[in-house]
Symmetry: C2
Subunit: 241 residues, 2 copies
């Protein structure tokens, strides 16, 4: 395959299908392992993310040990208790019913970290935005997630964790940031809608409301917004392709 060759309609549809049917998985993990061949492909997809100044700041910690996972789950439970009072009172009952992690049910856990000192002698592109290395690492997470969808492997991102406690638990040094804690494994299904939508936590915003022209809140782009609304209305962007 020549990388310059046009993509073709079938390939394009597959990429959109991965994007539109990717889900944040918490409840559907199966007690089945992931083959090394598949996991290596997913990690290689992550490793092909764009990175500022080509610094490739990421590492991948694979956690299989169940005792360690239970410790992480305890961190999650404590963090969720701490977060609860910050949620609007009328939504706290709903918040309590949400399943927000699959730490012990998934095939494995994966921590994607960012080494903030990598290539520090030539920080191309990080002088004006020191967060760029973290953003590169997030691009790696999203590559992993989409490749996983294409392998029918589920991924869930657990953000309700005390990062300092997690760093101590995993011996992560000071200069390394744990960017994402992921639960990864085979699943019984990919739901048609995000779970937070099904459960009534939120709705997808209309795309055309998010488009601005030339400046922040700038009106314009009427033709583009019309096309976006029409495509949304005919369901072009849902699970169907």
């Amino acid at each position: 395959m020549n990388s310059g060759e046009a993509f073709g309609m079938l390939g394009r549809e597959a990429v959109y299908r991965a994007i539109f049917t990717r889900r944040d998985i918490r409840s559907q993990f199966l007690p089945e392992p992931i083959e090394d061949e598949v996991l290596a492909r997913l990690l290689m997809a992550a490793h092909h993310a764009p990175s500022v100044g080509y610094m490739q700041p990421w590492n991948f910690i694979i956690i299989r040990d169940m005792a360690r996972r239970r410790q992480v789950r305890d961190l999650f439970l404590a963090a969720r208790q701490q977060e609860l009072p910050r949620i609007a009172e009328e939504r706290q009952a709903l918040y309590r019913t949400l399943k927000l992690e699959g730490i012990c049910e998934s095939a494995l856990n994966l921590v994607v970290t960012c080494d903030r000192q990598r290539s520090q002698n030539s920080p191309l592109g990080r002088s004006h935005n020191p967060q760029m290395d973290l953003y590169s690492t997030v691009c790696a997470v999203q590559n992993f997630w989409l490749a996983a969808r294409a392998e029918d492997i589920g991924v869930g991102w657990v953000s309700i964790l005390d990062r300092e406690a997690l760093k101590r638990l995993l011996d992560i040094p000071e200069h390394v940031e744990p960017v994402a804690y992921l639960c990864v494994g085979p699943v019984s299904a990919f739901a048609a809608q995000p779970e937070l939508e099904t459960k009534g936590w939120g709705k997808r915003l209309p795309l055309s409301d998010l488009i601005m022209s030339e400046t922040y809140a700038g009106a314009g782009e009427h033709s583009l917004k019309k096309v976006a609304d029409e495509a949304t209305n005919r369901g072009a962007f849902t699970a169907g392709s």
Copy 2:
């Protein structure tokens, strides 16, 4: 299409192809427009990124006006001058030869922003990691980038910009963060390798060196690392699929 249906080998290969042949484009932009239908699809791909607590914190500012783009390019030129002294002395000559933006040559520019106050009354998942809204926005950028690759549209991320100056230029309010400044448009080619590799700025690290087991720097995962090395050696992860 049922979203629960297995992906199939051809679809999987297309997703990996988008991931492995995506490039950060600076030099190959063509003086051609993007159709509204294509741009709407790319933005809808971005809008289907995962977001913490389903907050969808992103907005999309489309910049076409050439006078404004020249002002942004001036910001880039000033920022590059400021960054130069931070680059190791023996690499400064190489740094100067790198083309690091396509602001005025691309069909359009796109700023992906993060509204840090959206859903502030129920910050699910942001109590312990206040950066999660920024990370969600980066996931949207990566969705956009991969969908663009599948549409044969090039994308380049310009990180060498003074964000405060950019905010003033685009009337971006205090509570909104410009996460990514992207140059977007049809291109003449997607290079086989990242430009920073071809030009000798850096090399791709061996994946197996980045894999850790159970804790940071933890040894183990020998079987997985062997599979990753073998696949790398037979070129399974390069432009060819």
